[in-house]
Every structure is written in C-alpha cells, then in structure tokens.
Symmetry: D2
Subunit: 337 residues, 4 copies
C-alpha cells in the first residue's frame, strides 16, 4: 500500500483520479489539498465521493505531506501554480506526477512563449520525464518527476507515432483536427461552457493558437528524429467526456491501407491500453476507460488516422495512474481495468 | 407598424423576443437597452442576430424612448431592477409588458416575503394586469402595464384552470411536479448550470421554496374563487428549452377520463395556443412555438394533468408577443405561427 | 474465484454487469449467451469491451453451463424469455440472479394481469427472493433464485421504506413521480428513443399503466404490513443514465423535517449503498456507482422524498453484484467501490 | 399566394419545410404525400404541427397535384424514389425542387458509381439546376427542376468558393473535416442513432466514402474551372441540428489573413444568407436560420476555413425555400427572416 496525495483537489481531473484510486488495491488516498476548499470534506465539493473518501481538504504544505509519508503526489493544479508545488515536493523527496503543462515543454523559451510567463524551475524541468507510457515507459519507471501528457496531444502523438517512427510521412504535412467534450475546459463556470450556450452547438476555438501545439510537435519530433509541423484545430463537442482526433498526413510514397494497419498493430503490440481497431472507433467505446482507440484509413493520396479516448481518464488521470504503476513497479493495468 | 423597445437585452428572453419580433409584420425593433452592453452591437452579444437587427445597445432612458416614439416596451430585467424601469416608462406614457416577477403578485406583502425586499411601486402594482391571455384577455387588451406570467406558472395554471373553474377538485390536494430546461436559469454562468455539472444529470431544486409558488396559488385562487394550496417542486432537465409539469389533484367525486378531457376541450375551445392532446405530449412538440399542450388522465382516484411548453417562447417571450397583439388589436397569433 | 455466466449478453444491463465484474477480484466471466449473437466476439457487440473479455457469445444451454462449473448465472433476458432459462438453470443446480421481471411479483395472477401472459414457473416463483439487499439481505444470502429488483421500484421502495416501516404516512396517499435516462428503454432502436426524437425533449409515458407499479406496491405493502397504493408516473429524460424519483406522501400527523431525516439516517445506518443526504441529490452524484441517494423535505402538510440512482448500476447490474456478494459471503461492497 | 405540395412528408426535411412555409406570406401548403402515412393527419405524424396544417397525407399522384393547381413541388423522398416522382411532376408541368441527391450529379456515370444503381431519368438530369443560390441564382430563377444541394456540400462549397474562384489554392490540397448533428441521418431508427449509443459520443463515419464527395468536387470544379479533389470526412455530433466544416487548403503562394477575409467579404457582398464572421462561429449561431456563417484563418502555411449552418434549415429546407423565392420572383429572404 503506497500513500498518495492529490494537490488541487477541487477540479475534474482530481475527482477522476480519486474515483480511480478508490479501486486501486495498492494505493491509499492519504491527503488532498486545495487552497479554496481547505477544511471542507470531500463530499461537499464532490458529492459523488460522499462517504467514500475520508480525508478533508487541507492547505498544501510539502513538509506536512512528507510527515504523512506520502509516496506519490499528483499535481492537479493550473499551470504556473503547479511549479510552486512541484519544487518543494521534490525537495521533500516526494515523487510527483504533474498533470499541468508546466513540465511538458523541454525548452523554457517555448514555455515562456506559449504560456506567457518565464519558467521558474528549469532545474526540475531538465529532469522531468514526459509521461506517455507507450513511448517513454523505461524512463518513467525511474522518474522522480513525470510531466503527465496533455489530453489532445496523446491522441495526436499515439495516432502518428508509428508513421513518424518509420519515416513514412512528410513531417510538414500533418493536420490534427480534434474534438473534445466540455469537461476538458475545467470546472470554472464561464459563458462558453454555460449549458444553454454550448449544448446543441459545435464550434472551433483557439484555431492555430492552442497551447497543445508545441507539445505535440516536440514529442512527435522526438519520435521522428526530425522536426514535425502540425496544424492543430481544437473543437468543443456538447458532451461531458471524450476526445476524437481526425489526423491527416501525406505519405512520402503510396501505401496500402492494410500495410499501414499492420504497422500500427506491430507498433502497439504488447501495449495494454492502445487498441488498433478494424472498424471506426467512437469516443463512447473508450468512455471512463484508459484505452486509446485508433483506426487508420488511406483516402486518395492521404493517410487518415482516427484516434479517440476519454479526456479525463486516458487523457489525464488514468494515464497518471498508469504512470504511477510503472514508477512503483505495479502491473501497468492495476486499478485501470 | 408599431415601435418596440426591449429593456435588458443581453439575456435569453430578450434574444427570443427579438427572434420573434423579426418575423412580426407589424412591429419594428426600435431600441434595445442594456447597462452592461451599452454601445455594443446586437451581433456581438447575440451572434445569431448578426446582420439581422440594426440597433445598438443603449443605456435605459425613458425620456429618450419617448422621444423615439416607442409604443411598447418589453422589460427583460431581473426582478427588483424591473420596477426601476417600469415606473418612468409608465410616466412617459409607454405601455409596458414586464417579463420579470415584479408586478405579478398583487399583494405587496407576499412580494416582500418571497422576494426579500419591499415593493416600491405599489401604485402601478395595483393596475398591472396578469398577462395570461387564456384567462385575462379582456383586461389585457386595455392594460397599460402587463405582468407577463412566469414560465412554470403557465403550465400549472392552464393545466388546472378547467378543474378549478368547475370546482371539480379539492383545492388543498394539488401537487405540481415541474421539470425545466436549463435556459430557464438565465444566461449568467454558475456552477449548477456549468455544462459538465448539469449535463447528463437530473435534479430537483428549491423544493418547497420556489418563488413561482405564490404566483401559481394567487392565479389559481382567482380562477377557483377560493384559496388554492400547491406543493410545487421544480427540477432541472439537461436540455436547452422546455417545461413539463405533471400535476396531481384529488377530484371531489369520482370522474371519468373522457368526461374530464371534454371539459378541457370545451374550456380551451377558441384559444389558439392551447392544444388539448389525446395522446401524451412531449416538450419537443412545443419547441420554439407558443403552444401549451395539455393531456389529462385519471389514475386510480387521482386526476393527472400533463402540461408542457417551451419556457422561452410560450413561457416568456412568445406569450409577451401574444399579449402585445391583444393590446394593439392585432390578430392574437400574429408573428407566432 | 467463482465463475459467472451472463445470459442475454447483448443489451445494456449485460454490458454494465461485465464492466463491473471485470473489476471484481473474486469473479471470472466464464460464459456469455445470446441467441442473436452466438459465435460473435464480445468486442464486436460491445466495442468498449474489446480486448477486455475473452469469451465468445454462445447459445444458452444449461447443461453446458453446468459442465463449465458456473457458480452464478445472471439473467439479462426480456421477461417471458427469462422463465425459459431460469427453470433449467435451477434444475442444473446453478444459483441464479434474474434481472428480468419474471420472478418479482409473488402473485402469478398479478403477473398474468400486468405482463399479459400466464406465469409458467410458479414453483420457482414461490421460492424466489426479492433482491433488495437493504430490506431482504438475510434471505438473499441463502437464496438459489434472486429476483433482481426493477430500476424505478428501488428508488420508490427505499425512498418510502422508513416512513412505511414506522407507519408514519397514509398508505393511500403515495405519489411517485419518476424520471429516467434513456438507457432504461433498452438497446432496441425505436422511434421514441431515436436521438432526434427524444434529445432536447422531456415526456411522460405509460401514465398510470407502468408495470413497475404492482412491484412497488407489493414490496411497500410487505414493509408496511398493510396494502399500499401508489400513483406512479414515469418520464423520459434526455440523458443516458440516471433515475430520479420525487415522492409525495401525506403523514398521518404533522412531523418535522429534522425528525424525518433522523428516522432515515437510523433506518439506513450500516447500509453501505444508501446515502441519506443533507442537501438535494442529483443523479450525477450516483452516476456509474451503486449508491442510492435520498433526501427528505417537509413541504406544507406533505413529506417530499427525493431519491436517485444510476438505473444501470444501482438500478440493475450493480445491485445484482451486491446480491451476488451476499449470496457468496463476499464483502457486500466488493467490486462496487 | 402560390400552392405548394410536399412529397415524402414524414421525415425531418418535410417537417422543417412545413414549419418554414407556415410563416411564408406567399405560399399555401396545399398537399402532402406519403406512401406510409396516406390518410393520416399531419399532427399524428408530426405532433408539433397539430392544429397548424390542415391537409391530410395523400398518396402521390402527379395528375391529382396538377388538378389541385400546385405551383411548386418539394421532393423530400429518398434518392432513387425521387426520380419516380420528378418525372411525372415535370410532365404535369409542375416546377419542382428535389431535396434528394437524384439530380445533383450531372454525370449519370458518377451517379451510378456512387449510388449503386443507374440513373433512369437522364433527360431531366440534363436540365436540372444545382440549387445553390449564392452561385447559381440566375439559372435558378428560370429553372423548372432544381436539385437542392446537400447539407455538407453547402458548407464545403461556400467555404471554398472565393478561394477557388480566384485560383488562390492548390485544387489538390483540399481537406474537408465535417461534423453533423444527428437529424442529418434521417428519421428511421437504427442502432447508430439510438439515443444511448450516439449521445455522449463522437465518431467519424463513411471515411473516404461519403456520397457527398463527388457533389462537392463537381461544384467546386465548376467554380474553379479546373478539377478539384477533396478528402471529405464526416462525423456525428450528439446534438439535433448543425453542421460545422473545418476546411484546410494550401495556398499557391503565401497570403495574409486579412487579405483572405477581405476576399470573402467581397465575394459574399449582397448575399443575404452568408455571414463572413470576424470571430469564430458556432453552429448555434445559425440554429433554425438560413444563415451559413464563415470565418477564415491562416495557420502556418495553410488556409483554414470554418463554415457552419443548420443542416435542416440552410442545409435542406431553408435553402429550398430560398430557391423557391428566386423561382417565383419573391424577395430572396421571404419567410426566412
């Protein structure tokens, strides 16, 4: 039994994390922090957890968490705020999985450019491991700081990894057209996520400007061994959960659909949470699971990849638990079946 | 062509009102006021109206509206604020339909008790006419101030009027179990109407405390000629629009279903916007129309009435236009077909 | 590790059951039957289970299930068809939890009247135990045949049990106004559950005629020790899952809200899956859990009970697993946390 | 006042058409045909039209429609069936707007290839006019047979027309990623449109194989004066109405965003139903209107066009009425405001 702390426990990724950990046989939820909810019971903030989680929200204090012998901390804080927690956690010797974007971009200049403030913890940034188990499992196992991957990027990266790994496509030709359920926008009410505004509506947002763009390009570039450019367009779908990415890429030379499918199956053989589908997937097939489903088609001269997941489970808290499993030598699928 | 002004133009009832008036052959939208949006174009606040309504939001000023020769003002302001606009409008000689609750309760004590502040315009309160055309058409025609009825109350009142008019039910036995789409909660974002909170969920709210209770009881009492007590429970449905009320009442003596249906048909004969249905209605049958659909069943010893409407059209802006039609001698259905 | 068979595996309750059992540490899914899907893999019918459940749909054959040493069979068949499976299962000595309505009504005449065909297995009917653990746990532990309770009835029964047990209310005064998500209508496409018909709509159905009425009355009568009459009105809510029942009852004499709440808390003390809530519950608080949440209010002269659950988990497959846990001496909450 | 007949009146486009025509001051709904519903009242099939449309469904009979002096027939029949109605209508001298795909593809070989049966009315095919008013208004005015455009194609065509007209983009580079509400799938229940299947889910379908592909390519080729190839991917969104297309194209040489926007504004100047938006549009902005909203962005080396509409109004029945207005010399916006 290891002890977990959850930082920034009032949002949706924290709720999802607790829901998963409640079923994990080797983890105890030992502490939950929240600046705004300190002193509150969990059930008051997350009624679904009433009578299920015993702890009370507390203020974040790394020393106190150390005293409680926390083995693993999950950071569910907004970017910027996350850095302020990760530094003292690592100093206190607590291994940390940060679900924010703060330690994902390896280049502090890129971070500063896209997040509009300088990175103030470049030392830890240098040793953070990008927490995508299908690509970086080896490094995750021994990491002290895991930068949990973004929700959109996972579909883009796993959707394109086999093609780029084998140099099959033009790395300048990639278009990622993504669609997300509304929980991806977080729990703070605003007009764009007010029910009568976004229900029964579909819209694009942040066209050409979304902060997940450099994250996708960085990891794909790492896999390809060459820079990759991505046109990334996110959209909002009137549903709670789910991300679906439709990805277009130009093969360097003509390929057959069956051949590409076989490539994907080979690449993901032995990866328990990626399913290469024969038919077309729907986000509902992955709802509240840690699976990321992929299908591939060749249309005219283009490869079209369809990749989907649950944005809160696979896209955030599920993959965080998968990372934790690797870090502590548990079965990779423990608590995630 | 008469000239209309809309006060408090940034919310959903104002948007619905403009959408209806755009199709009305005898009304021109001549002014729209909003404290928060003054100076803005309509299209910026309500993108669906882009290039369709020419006016710009202005600050409310009764003298200016008089100068513009406004014939009818629609108040879409919150209760409390509405009083502040209605007084100068009537002084300026502008006939007004107030969509707030400020002039619905005839007894200022009741108003003070339920709305938690005293009524500051009892003079106009005394001459306000409750704007339910199926009951008060005669008085509406000549009214200078119409208190447009609440969304829930219309289903309760029209659902019960034939029974109470004929003294068929025990006036202490009435239960109104109502369900509303989320637009009824207005356009200000809050946690309870944040998409991932209320989508895929169903809940009751304000049980036994909703402010529409005294409004329902007052008008039903007027129709019955005797006090009527109502247990009223509102619920939130994950959909944009629609109210459905399931109403239970105890008949004074056993009645047959067919007999009760005939009573309803007779009561609503010649009323263009009430449809007494043979089958069970669904809110979608009334979506974006001014119809209020009613069915009646006898179950065991109880009469069960099912009444539904679109909360923004029939429940607010549609019936406001119906009231305007009566006030100006237009065909009652003009602009509402 | 016990072995479970699921009969009629193509529908939603079977899918939910498998999803739960996959996480249950003491049960193996050893067989799944379906007449229409025999020979198919699970993943083809339920894509969310791809690569998660290894068995293939087979034809139902009690002898074959016996040969496979099945310990527990879950019947997810439609009523009528269920009887045809339960008989041979019990003959083969396989303990059975029947999720259909076939063994719920103890009186075969009632069954014949409401289900419009005679009951053809009255012998087993006589020994079936109604599977509501909060009321019948003792008998469930030793049962060979458990009649798993209906989704609506659980909210009505658990919502009213404390009041009737203590004789606090008039047993003729009960109104149950229930609202259900669309998955309750099953997986066979029809016009009323076609997305563009029922989405963004709310409607009542089977008013005064729903087959859960006699089930509610029978069990409430058993708890009360006197006949109980119920007016039951089901409605369809545009959401996947969730049932919310608003229940109205007349107390025999005036009671205070706090007093009633305390009564509920006492009644449900030690019951792990009923949460007596201080605030008002929403179906989303119970989504994909086995919890049934209850709140009580006193409004005027009436007691208003609000009870909700997930119709597929608590309302069907979750409570079935809770029953199985009792039958096999497992912790009542195993697999359901 | 002209007289309209609607053929195939039981589906969603027919319902939408009637809803629009009810408000049109110059058209009377004089006949409605349906093979399956002949003899039924409109209200029984479309409850929202109860007491609003007086006619009764009849069998299709061109001679009878001629006898009724029908001026315009709207074909809402499935492809294939539509040809069987259009032939006798035109022989009877009744001008016809066909909402099916039967007369859209000018090349009968293409039709046969995509619709999998030969075209049996090539004579009328030759004189059909593609009913996209923003491009073919002149020819529509005098047409006897208008092939009403497909829902998806309108967003693709109007989204790309200015670019192709001016030869700004590589005609081989076009990707159209489209998302549609479920009403686009018609009114016949099937598993993929069963509420609990498609609600809270997002999926692609017919990837690379959708029948709107040749329609888009044909009209874009006509506008460009050169063949245009399109990769077209349709998706299903859990909402009733709305189509949103995200379109990617490679400019022949670098262009500025402002420059492209100006081009769009110039191209659509004077077109009452296309709104070139400064901000990003949402389908809800166009809900139940005949507007098609477009925004343009330049992202890296690509032009990204965002185009949306209501699939039943602008995408089918609204544009049909716009076509009718042109054919009969009415104001283009009559009945569509």
């Amino acid at each position: 039994m290891i002890k977990a702390a959850i930082l920034g426990g009032s949002g949706y990724t924290a709720l999802e994390l607790m829901t998963i950990l409640l079923r994990h046989p080797r983890v105890e939820i030992a502490a939950i922090t929240s600046r705004s909810e300190a002193g509150q019971s969990i059930g008051r903030v997350h009624p679904s957890l009433l009578q299920r989680v015993d702890v009370v929200f507390e203020e974040f204090d790394a020393a106190e968490l150390k005293r409680k012998q926390i083995d693993i901390a999950f950071g569910c804080l907004p970017h910027g705020a996350s850095i302020e927690a990760v530094k003292p956690l690592l100093e206190a010797g607590i291994r940390t999985i940060d679900l924010s974007a703060d330690y994902r971009l390896t280049d502090p200049e890129q971070y500063a450019a896209w997040y509009e403030h300088p990175h103030t913890d470049t030392a830890n940034l240098a040793r953070a491991v990008y927490g995508l188990p299908e690509v970086y499992a080896q490094r995750i196992r021994t990491a002290t700081l895991v930068a949990n991957p973004g929700c959109y990027p996972q579909t883009a990266i796993l959707g394109l990894a086999p093609l780029l790994k084998h140099g099959l496509i033009d790395p300048e030709s990639v278009i990622v057209d993504s669609k997300s359920g509304v929980s991806g926008a977080g729990r703070t009410p605003k007009l764009s996520t007010h029910f009568p505004e976004c229900n029964e509506s579909f819209a694009a947002y942040s066209v050409g400007k979304h902060r997940h763009t450099p994250e996708i390009e960085q990891v794909l570039g790492d896999i390809a061994g060459t820079p990759v450019n991505v046109i990334f367009t996110p959209h909002l779908v009137p549903m709670d959960r789910g991300i679906f990415s439709t990805i277009y890429a130009m093969p360097k030379q003509a390929v057959g659909e069956r051949e590409v499918m076989d490539l994907y199956r080979a690449y993901y053989a032995g990866k328990p949470f990626v399913r290469v589908r024969e038919g077309l997937p729907a986000t509902k097939d992955t709802l509240r699971t840690n699976y990321l489903d992929i299908a591939v088609r060749v249309v005219r001269d283009r490869i079209v990849v369809l990749a989907c997941e649950d944005n809160l489970t696979r896209g955030a808290s599920g993959v965080a638990v998968q990372n934790m499993n690797l870090m502590f030598g548990f079965d990779e699928t423990e608590g995630l079946r």
